[in-house]
Every structure is written in structure tokens, then in C-alpha cells.
Symmetry: C2
């Protein structure tokens, strides 16, 4: 497998590695939304949101188009929703492992 392909994969994941960008993608799972609405649901400066949307656009995970006076954003492919779902599962598994380990530690004091 070629080196640039690893670069592309890494870039794709790095694109998702930001709280605002994650929130945007989760909101877009329910369908296209105008910037205005994203702004009202995510506590962030307009210029900052624009920057983050630009990052998502550059990588191609979202697309934008105009609808009347508003700019709309949408997921470029439903696969993105799957990626987020897989991420949630891993997070769940990791946290469960941690809690499980913590619980086990508590159940068996130092001498155990």
C-alpha cells in the first residue's frame, strides 16, 4: 500500500479530530442544515465555525450549496454516519474496560 494513501487516511481521521467538527457532523446526520442553524446549536464564533467547515470541505466529508439566502451543508456520503457510529462503539468499549478495571480494583483491595 502506497505511502500517500496512508497520508490520505490519516488526514481523513485528523479532519474528525476536533470537537466542533464532530458536532457539525453529528448534526448533519439528520440531514442538510444551514450554517445559521449550526451556529445556533454550537457555541462558537461564526468565523471559527467557518474555519472548521472549511476543513471538513477540504477533506470532502461534507459539501455545501446555496439555498435562497443561506449556505447549506450536508454529509458528502452516508458512510460518514457509519464512521461516527464505529467511533462511538470504540469509545464505549474503551470506557467500559476502564470502568470495569476500576470496579475490579475496588472489589479486590491491595491484599487481594
Amino acid at each position: 500500500m502506497s505511502v500517500p494513501l496512508y497520508q490520505a487516511k490519516a488526514e481523513m481521521f485528523r479532519t474528525l479530530g476536533h470537537p466542533v467538527r464532530i458536532r457539525v457532523l453529528e448534526l448533519l446526520q439528520a440531514g442538510p442544515r444551514p450554517v445559521r442553524e449550526l451556529l445556533s446549536e454550537i457555541d462558537v464564533e461564526p468565523s471559527n465555525l467557518s474555519q472548521q467547515l472549511a476543513v471538513l470541505r477540504r477533506t470532502g466529508v461534507v459539501v455545501s450549496f446555496r439555498d435562497g439566502g443561506l449556505v447549506m451543508y450536508a454529509l458528502s456520503t452516508p458512510d460518514v454516519a457509519e464512521l461516527l457510529a464505529a467511533g462511538r462503539r470504540i469509545l464505549g468499549a474503551v470506557l467500559a474496560d476502564r470502568d470495569g478495571l476500576l470496579a475490579e480494583l475496588n472489589a479486590h483491595p491491595p491484599a487481594g
Copy 2:
């Protein structure tokens, strides 16, 4: 949904956002491997690989244990493989869209 949870999700994706870390995870899909072997397959300094492995460990996507004189690494959950697969699909979709658009542009010159 709480703000720290978005932080955790973002951190989880950011963890994958590095070519060396992606390669490590892909190699680990086939089963646990010693650091030594990862080193021989990824062209990177030992200390650098260690740093990247530490990042993966911190987030909990991999675990490590000792086997004889070697340190082994393994995926902490098979869900990680699914995440990588979803990433591949999106990358495919995005690149196909780009190529498709490019092809269409070439098929319909300026006047079209």
C-alpha cells in the same frame, strides 16, 4: 450530550490522524505483534514509534503486554478494525466523487 464527550470523541479520532499510527493499527488487525516487528515494517525511528504507540495506548485503542523479551501490542477491541474499514469506504467515496467530477468536466468542455 455533554461537552467532555465531544472532547473524548475528537481525541479518539485525532489519535488515528497520523500515518504511522494508522499503519500500526492496520498491522495489528492481523493479530498481536511485537514492537520489533512493527519497527521492521514501518520506516521510522524506534523512539518515534514508541511515541506513537504511547499515543495509541493513552487513548485506549491498543494495549501492550510482555511476552518473553519482547513487548507486544494488540488492538484493544475489534471495533477498531471496523473504524478503519469505514474510513476506507469514505476515502473511496470521496475519491470516486472527485474522479467522477473530473471525468464529467473533461467530457463536457467549457461550452457544454
